[in-house]
């Protein structure tokens, strides 16, 4: 069915029902956006003893952990941190207008393209002065993640977590499975699990982002880190034969994914790993949050996504990193520098990790003795990586990933044979979006 929108001249003012349509469309169409910028930050104080922080840590556990960090900072420096917490998703959705309005001095944000974007737009302040002090606490991969495109530092990382394939040790033991290190072994293991009546790979893509994690893993294993970065940055073409190869690998293991995934949330998919119905699950280490029973949690383990192309091995780890940025015109610059210097220390990270054990410290200097075995393994995996990626929606333009890639990957999952036309459609839309910046 095709509806032509042309050929309808709109006569002058009319009655209410017409206006309702017009008004509704207008409100949807972003008339509210400039107005929204007025609802940013709370801090109007230029008190030298206070720093304001815009926080997206609305969940109880991280919120408490941050409060403890700020309390420790106050004890050490005498500067009070005034936290303005917003719902996690709302914070993310309003970030554009928030940063343009009257943002707090410091705000929670993510490393990668999403950070660089705001740095480029002039909505964040460079913090090279802070890094002169804290630089020694971080490995090179973290330093690379904290820089903008102009080479200046804009970000202080706090914690990170890896994406990997999670499994139950007891299930692997019972069936005598071995952790697969190569693609062929991985596919063979999937086949064996299916034979043994297990769902080989738990999967839920209702929220549309989990599929992006699977694509990332396959793509940088097949094509390497450099190509992955170019692809995410919009430089390499999606119609490249290399991308096709990545999708072909995906299509090969697709039959081993849990069915009904389009209507399943990641939490429900994780439950099938908890109940030992599924053998493996590719997700971030936050999957551990679904393991509420201590014995189940102790049984949880993970391995890096198997090698596909020996040229790249398992050298890349997807490790989304969360931390802090400084808004464009902080009211208390000296206080901000002090706070960020503190947040860049292993002590601050340890306070956070005490409360939230599903992540690991971004600094290599942090004390790992209190880590759970899972955290220790995650820490080793991240610090041993040659390159770190963030996640598709953090490494690429958010408008591209949310409006093109999310529906695109869902389409692939439902019809893996249509990959050629899908990729050329993605490429066309990518060009339009990346050209419009």
């Amino acid at each position: 069915m095709r509806l032509s929108p042309s050929g309808l001249a709109v006569p002058g003012p009319s009655r209410r029902s017409l206006l309702r349509g017009a008004g509704g469309a207008a409100l949807l169409a972003g008339a509210g956006i400039p107005l929204l910028s007025a609802c940013g930050g709370s801090g109007s104080s230029s008190d030298p003893k206070t720093v304001t922080v815009g926080s997206n840590a609305s969940d109880a556990v991280p919120k408490k952990a941050f409060a403890e960090i700020y309390a420790a900072f106050k004890k050490q420096s005498g500067v009070t941190v005034d936290v303005n917490t917003k719902d996690h998703n709302t914070f993310q959705e309003q970030i554009n207008s928030y940063l343009q309005g009257t943002p707090d001095d410091v705000f929670n944000w993510f490393a990668g393209y999403r950070m660089q974007f705001f740095a480029k737009k002039g909505l964040a302040s460079p913090i090279d002065d802070v890094w002169a002090k804290i630089g020694g606490n971080f490995p090179d991969a973290m330093k690379k993640l904290s820089k903008g495109e102009d080479g200046k530092y804009y970000f202080v990382p706090l914690y990170t977590y890896p994406w990997a394939i999670f499994y139950r040790k007891s299930v692997f033991q019972k069936h005598g499975y071995e952790v697969p290190t190569t693609w062929d072994k991985f596919v063979a293991l999937c086949k064996q699990m299916k034979k043994d009546g297990l769902v080989p790979i738990a999967f839920g893509d209702k929220d549309a982002w989990p599929a992006m994690g699977t694509f990332d893993q396959i793509n940088f294993r097949v094509n390497g880190y450099d190509f992955h970065v170019e692809l995410m940055a919009g430089k390499a073409a999606w119609t490249d034969a290399k991308v096709k190869a990545a999708f072909d690998h995906w299509a090969e293991i697709l039959p081993y994914h849990q069915d009904g995934f389009m209507g399943r949330t990641w939490q429900d998919a994780a439950q099938s790993l908890v109940s030992k119905k599924a053998g493996m699950y590719l997700l971030g280490s936050f999957v551990a949050q679904q393991f509420t029973d201590k014995a189940d949690l102790d049984d949880l383990d993970f391995f890096a996504f198997p090698e596909i192309n020996p040229a790249y091995g398992q050298d890349t780890v997807e490790a989304p990193t969360d931390g802090f940025m400084v808004s464009k015109a902080p009211k208390n610059h000296a206080g901000v520098v002090k706070l960020l210097e503190y947040l860049g220390t292993p002590e601050a990270e340890q306070i956070y990790l005490k409360a939230d054990s599903s992540v690991v410290a971004a600094s290599t200097k942090a004390d790992t003795s209190a880590y759970s075995p899972l955290q220790k393994k995650a820490f080793e995996m991240i610090s041993g990586a040659k390159s770190l990626t963030q996640f598709m929606d953090r490494d690429s333009r958010p408008d591209f990933t949310s409006t093109v890639m999310q529906p695109g990957l869902q389409k692939f999952l439902q019809n893996p044979k249509g990959v050629d036309s899908l990729l050329s459609s993605i490429e066309r839309q990518k060009k339009q979006i990346f050209a419009s910046s």
């Binding site: 349509g21 169409a29 993310q92 009904g260 408008d399």
Partner: protein, 326 residues
């Protein structure tokens, strides 16, 4: 000016309310005598405030979004707005794989609502109008879904349709590997699954509208047709239904509006994934959040606006013509 002495406050003539000056000459003396200063202030406030609000919130925003549809803008600073002419529309019509399915789904939404829940609502209304026992109870039961917010309805139905733990799959045993029925995700099924939820609500809404219409039907009409020997169906078809004409018009307009503004239910249900794309959801996905393709999203909103106008203008023209004739 001396004629103003009849008003309670003579200084009104000396200091006319601002803005009234240009019309001074045209206003007849008789009119002026009727309006005291207080009246005029009240009138100005009553007409002016709503007009201002209306212009600011409806016209300015509508025109702004139409203009933005011809630009690209990431929402950061007004200087980053770039004029691109018809590019957004061109991309939308030729390269956006979600656009035409979305238009199609909005149309299906309307057709289904008008063909299934609307006649069913009429049927319920006719039955309840017969003063059967517990009629109030039935009315409440059928109307209840209309009172619940769409977001809650989406949430409830999403639990019913959940592939692993949902009511339907649990009952029919479709939650085992190999037998999954993915009501929420399968693009061949999910639109119909959502439409069942939408119809469930819409039927109650239509029932109340028709019930109100039926209550206003003159009982003597029924009596007359009974005397003429018409059976129940004939009475309904030839006498009652034609008198429901005004209600039918309202029902039609309400259903069209429901079909065009369909959003909340689907957004909660599966965020408009493949199979349930809707224009309103495309607008939101492009504008809200970090994506901020404001120009592109506005272009989709303009398409939605044009479709609304295409439906509503002929209706308004017809109504006005009738009023003028009457």
């Amino acid at each position: 000016m001396t004629t103003d002495t009849t008003t309670k406050s003579p200084e009104a003539a000396a200091v006319p309310p601002p803005g009234a000056a240009p019309q001074k000459k045209r206003v007849t003396q008789g009119h002026r005598r009727l309006l005291t200063r207080r009246d005029r202030i009240t009138l100005a406030a009553m007409a002016g405030v709503p007009t201002l609000l209306h212009v600011a919130l409806v016209w300015v925003t509508a025109i702004a979004s139409i203009l933005l549809a011809f630009t690209t803008w990431d929402g950061i600073g007004f200087d980053s707005i770039k004029w691109v002419g018809l590019d957004n529309f061109h991309q939308l019509f030729s390269d956006n794989p979600q656009f035409w399915p979305a238009v199609q789904h909005n149309v299906i939404w309307f057709v289904v609502l008008i063909l299934i829940p609307t006649p069913f609502g009429l049927f319920l209304a006719v039955q309840l109008d017969k003063k059967i026992r517990f009629t109030r109870l039935y009315q409440t039961a059928f109307f209840l879904p209309v009172v619940i917010s769409m977001a809650c309805i989406g949430f409830v139905w999403q639990l019913v349709y959940n592939p692993d733990t949902g009511l339907i799959n649990s009952i029919i045993g479709a939650n085992k590997p190999g037998h999954y029925i993915d009501w929420i995700g399968d693009p061949k099924l999910n639109l119909w699954a959502v439409l069942i939820a939408a119809s469930w609500r819409h039927a109650g809404y239509m029932m109340i509208l028709y019930l109100a219409g039926l209550k206003s039907v003159d009982p003597s009409l029924r009596e007359a047709s009974a005397l003429d020997g018409a059976n129940e169906w004939q009475t309904f078809k030839n006498v009652i239904f034609p008198t429901l004409r005004p209600t039918n018009t309202v029902v039609l307009v309400v259903t069209i509006i429901e079909a065009l503004r369909a959003f909340d239910l689907v957004f909660v249900f599966n965020k408009g994934a493949q199979g349930t794309e809707l224009l309103s959801i495309l607008v939101t996905n492009n504008i809200i959040g970090e994506s901020s393709r404001i120009g592109y999203g506005s272009a989709i909103a303009v398409v939605l606006l044009v479709i609304s106008l295409a439906v509503i203008i002929p209706y308004l023209i017809a109504t006005f013509r009738k009023e003028r004739r009457a």
